[in-house]
Amino acid sequence: MIPERSAPVSTRTVTRRDFAKGAAIAVAAATVPLAACNSSRGEENPEAEAIFHAILRQHPKLFNDDQKKELRAQIESTVEGLQKLRAYSLENWDEPAAVLHLSAASASGDVLAGSLQHAQAKGATNAE
């Protein structure tokens, strides 16, 4: 789910299948063996611990012990994804793209030429 080649924080692998099967949720990337998700590991990540305790405060009776272990694993996986995301450099003017945006040219139907022209016009310097 999280590309290892761009991983600035961790080399731990996480599963693409959580998405490929349609789960499509970062928090479900619980490939970490449960034994690795004990409290000592959690204490190494204050953000994960904070989220864990916030959820337990909000739902004090909802989770049994096994679910708490799963919960901690999922939080740690999610925090790893967040850290990778935060490590990516953004500029002030990088606006959110909430949904698909069509370039003017592609919207007019000439998708291929339009894509190129639009990219050039925008100075798409991020191209690899």
């Binding site: 590309p3 761009s6 928090v27 999922q74 994804g81 990778k84 990088d94 793209a97 191209a127």
Partner: protein
């Protein structure tokens, strides 16, 4: 009763026989209903059969066609719809126990369009609970149990359009509708050896469909051929003011010719599963792309995907939007009634992702969209194996370390709302393998052109699983 040879015909072939009065929609519907009741039950393929509605629609279609009123290529064609699409009078369970009694009094736009085209609804296809929106670890994450793969009933169909994959593959309907937020059309199509089209985001109205991730959900056809996918898309596509994400584009027509008529420029994706990951499916997909190139249908060169935290961004978007979409379920605690242990907790984590991180993911998405525009200036399509694996055993843990690899092409494609198709291109250990083609926004014509040309050169899509 009609033979399997008839039931496995493509939509185009069935339509031709129906139009020329050689095949009765009523007989065809009865044959599919019988097969769906017998084989579909064994495969856990359907959430609900709709025999009364199907017979009523079949009789109406037959009468109209006899009277000379032929509505088009889907007239009299039986199909199944994923059980997250609203059909009045029938349950819409979203694959999940907490919604097992849910009914809507309105009709999803795609169901209406298919009804108006004369298609016949046989039933609601089984699916992974909430389309996997809360996460899942096992194939059994569905109120209807694990969907069994017609090619090997000890294996899974993949999800979340699990029933749709089984139905088309096992010849229980002529086609099915699936949905994809990330992988849910491409993966079951690949595992089940069928053709599945993920349209551009906004191309097909989601009005009346369960929401998982508002900015990434898409509805598309799963069928026996790429040509069928094009025909079906031409019926279900189009602007809908009831869907805020609907594209205000001209209608999609099929068949459609590419403007320039030149060989497709296809970028063969290096490392589609992440760095240094070799997949058991890569060899068959490479043979497929070489076949297209050697027949002059495509000019193929290697392509590198842009590097960046695209999958992480996509994961955050889906996690946050999914937690919002199912907020009531989470707040009530009824999420504990889901079948899968991961589903009990995943949504609560999504609720605790900061707005700033969600916006950062959306900003990263904006950068990726620009990068992909540049890539699609160089290529008409990107191509890779449809999946890195073949169908996994029913009891397989989906977070097993052996499946820990990236999905950059899926992540990028879905985060950017790009159209893609998966078509079968061979077998590995007796299970289907596929190739996928990914296009620029609204370039379904290119995606379909590559797949149709490939299927004109091969017969993988005509293979039938050993179900009786």
């Amino acid at each position: 009763m009609l033979s399997d040879d008839i039931l496995y015909l493509s939509v185009r072939e069935l339509g031709g026989q129906i139009r020329s009065h050689k095949l009765s929609p009523v007989e065809l519907t009865e044959a599919y209903l019988e097969r769906a009741g017998r084989i579909g039950a064994r495969l856990n393929a359907f959430a609900t059969l709709t025999p009364d509605l199907a017979r009523e629609q079949a009789k109406a279609a037959e009468a109209e066609i006899k009277a000379g009123k032929y509505r088009g290529p889907l007239h009299g064609i039986p199909y199944a719809a994923k059980d997250l699409l609203a059909v009045p009078g029938y349950p819409t369970k979203w694959g999940a126990k907490p919604y097992a009694d849910q009914k809507f009094d309105y009709e999803a736009t795609v169901i209406r369009k298919l009804r108006e085209a004369g298609a016949i609804l046989l039933g609601k296809a089984a699916m992974i609970e909430l389309a996997g929106g809360m996460g899942y670890r096992f194939a059994s994450a569905s109120v209807t149990g694990p969907a069994k793969n017609p090619w090997n009933e000890g294996c899974w169909t993949c999800g979340s359009s699990s029933g749709s994959g089984a139905i088309v593959s096992a010849g229980l309907a002529a086609f099915a509708l699936g949905t994809e937020t990330w992988g849910s059309i491409i993966c079951p199509s690949s595992y089940c050896g069928i053709s599945g089209l993920r349209p551009t985001y906004g191309r097909v109205s989601r009005h009346g469909a369960m929401a998982l991730a508002y900015s990434m959900d898409k509805i598309g056809p799963m069928a026996r051929s790429a040509e069928d996918c094009g025909l079906i898309l031409s019926v279900i596509a189009g602007f809908d003011p009831q869907d805020p994400g609907s594209l205000q584009a001209e209608p999609f027509a099929y068949p459609a010719k590419r403007a320039d008529g030149q060989p497709l420029r296809i970028g063969w994706v290096k490392e589609p599963w992440g760095k240094d990951k070799k997949a058991e499916t890569d060899a068959a997909a490479k043979q497929a792309i070489d076949l297209l190139a050697n027949n002059g249908a495509a000019h193929v060169t290697e392509a590198l995907l842009p590097e960046g935290p695209w999958e992480a961004a996509g994961g955050i978007v889906v996690a946050v939007e999914g937690a919002a979409a199912f907020g009531n379920l989470l707040d009530s605690g009824k999420v504990m009634d889901l079948a899968d242990p991961i589903g009990h907790i995943g949504g609560y984590v999504g609720q605790h992702i900061h707005a700033s991180d969600y916006l950062r993911a959306q900003r990263v998405r904006g950068i990726l969209q620009k990068k992909m525009e540049t890539i699609f200036g160089q290529f008409d399509l990107l191509a890779a194996a449809g999946e890195a694996t073949t169908a996994t055993p029913l009891d397989f843990k989906l977070d097993d370390p052996s499946l820990s690899f990236g999905d950059p092409i899926g992540g990028i494609g879905n985060l950017c709302g790009l159209p893609a198709i998966s078509v079968p291109c061979g077998f590995h250990d007796g299970k289907p393998v596929s190739i996928q083609f990914v296009g620029a926004p609204r370039a379904e014509v290119n995606v379909l052109a590559a797949a149709v040309q490939f299927q004109a050169l091969t017969d993988w899509h005509a293979k039938r699983p050993p179900v009786t």
